[in-house]
Structures are given as structure tokens and as C-alpha cells.
Symmetry: C2
Subunit: 110 residues, 2 copies
DNA sequence: GAAAATCATGCCGTACAAAGACAAAGAAAT
DNA sequence: ATTTCTTTGTCTTTGTACGGCATGATTTTC
């Protein structure tokens, strides 16, 4: 089977790969690794981090919360804990939207 | 007319009143006043702040965003800008908006 | 005189970034 | 082949800049 490796998705990514993938400083990724439970890379024999795609998604989410939406680390952590369906953004938005509708409707009915 | 003032809602509140109402330090309120456009108390001739209920609601909202939800000042500002309808109290607009929401809701309920 | 204001400065924690040290992986030289 | 050098990537630890108020100091208003 030629080219076999090239067609198989990698299981693990190094911190450098993740760093350039997401355009984030490696030290920042290490820092978040300490701060967020959802980022839990494996480590090889000498302590190097091995990230799965799940880890990478988690890092991307943290990045969004902190650098785009303007949460503190604490706030992001809290946000993530409160929405276990966190990686389903559509659902999240829909729920928020419905909540808003419900509120406003109850006001309307006076 | 006895007790007249006690039964009429105040138009303006001093910073001390707001401070104890919301259990916030006055310096923090002054600071937020500088940071958030939606907090815009009137000032009397010699500069004392006069807060309306609208201002107080705005402060309460900022407090919620920062101290409960964990936004940074920047993030809270950005959040508030992205949902202007929340503090737009003009009745007519609100009603028109609710009518729209109702429509959408009936669509959603299928 | 208690509470308001405006500065200025102080200060503490957060959120990284830089520093320093070590390991692995080629080239180059012996 | 093995040693040495250099580069590159990773690690942990420590430093630091900035955000977010708090605290005077001083003056004025209620």
C-alpha cells in the first residue's frame, strides 16, 4: 500500500504544529493547558505534549472565548462548565435565542 | 400632602445610593462610568453624578457581565455593543421588535 | 460633617512572554 | 561508526506588563 501514511490522519500533534495551525504562541498553549481541564494532551516518555484533534478543538474554543469574545480565563472556564454541549454552537445559539423569546413573550402577554 | 415624596419614585440617585443599592464601591462605579458609554449619569452644576434607573440597570448589567459571567471590561463593552436592543427602552421599537419575535416563534414551534 | 468630586498614585493578581536548560536530529569531522 | 557541533523543538521556571480597581489627598457640595 503506497503512500499509506500520507492518507491516514495523524493521531497526535506536537505543540509546534498546533502552534502554527492556530497561530498561537506555544507558551500560551502550555499556559492554557494548565488552566483548562478540557485541554489534556498525552505526554510521551520525556514529557512532550501530544495533542489529539479533540485537544486542538478545545484550544480553538478557548481561544475564541478569550481572544474574540473577551472572557477572562475564569469566565471562559465557567462558561465551558455551564455548557456541556459546548461544541455544538448552533444548538447553543438556538437555546439562547429561545430563552430570549420566552422572556419577551411573557412581557408581551400583559 | 403628607409622605408625598416617599411614594413617588425618585428620578435621580446619588452615587452613594447606587453604591449601597448594588453593593459596589463608589470608585468602581466612577471607573465604569468612564469605561462604558451606556452609563451616562447627568451631572448637577458642580459635577455630582445623578443616576437614573436606566443608569442603574446599566451598571447592574455591567456588574453581571464582569463579576458573574467573567468578561473583561473590553469583552463586556463588546458584548453590550452587539446587543443594543437590550437597553433600548423606547416603547414603540420594543413592541415592533416583539411582534417580530412572535412571528419567528410561531415559525419555530413547528 | 458626611458625602461628593477630581486627580494622582499605589497595588495586587492575571495572563502571558522571555529565559534558561535539556533532548533529539541531522551534518561535519575524525 | 563515533564524536563533536549546530540547530531545532520542547520543557519548566521566573519575570513582567497591564488591567482593574482602591486608596489617599485635597477640595467642594449638601
Amino acid at each position: 500500500m503506497p503512500y499509506k501514511d500520507k492518507e491516514i490522519e495523524k493521531l497526535y500533534y506536537t505543540i509546534g504544529e498546533v502552534s502554527s495551525m492556530l497561530n498561537l504562541n506555544a507558551s500560551q498553549i502550555r499556559f492554557w493547558d494548565k488552566q483548562f481541564e478540557i485541554i489534556k494532551p498525552h505526554k510521551n516518555k520525556h514529557g512532550n505534549r501530544l495533542f489529539t484533534t479533540k485537544d486542538i478543538e478545545a484550544i480553538a474554543k478557548v481561544n475564541e472565548l478569550i481572544n474574540e469574545k473577551g472572557f477572562t480565563i475564569q469566565g471562559a472556564r465557567q462558561y465551558l462548565e455551564q455548557s456541556p454541549e459546548m461544541f455544538d454552537d448552533k444548538r447553543e445559539q438556538a437555546i439562547a435565542y429561545l430563552r430570549l423569546l420566552k422572556e419577551k413573550l411573557s412581557l408581551l402577554q400583559e
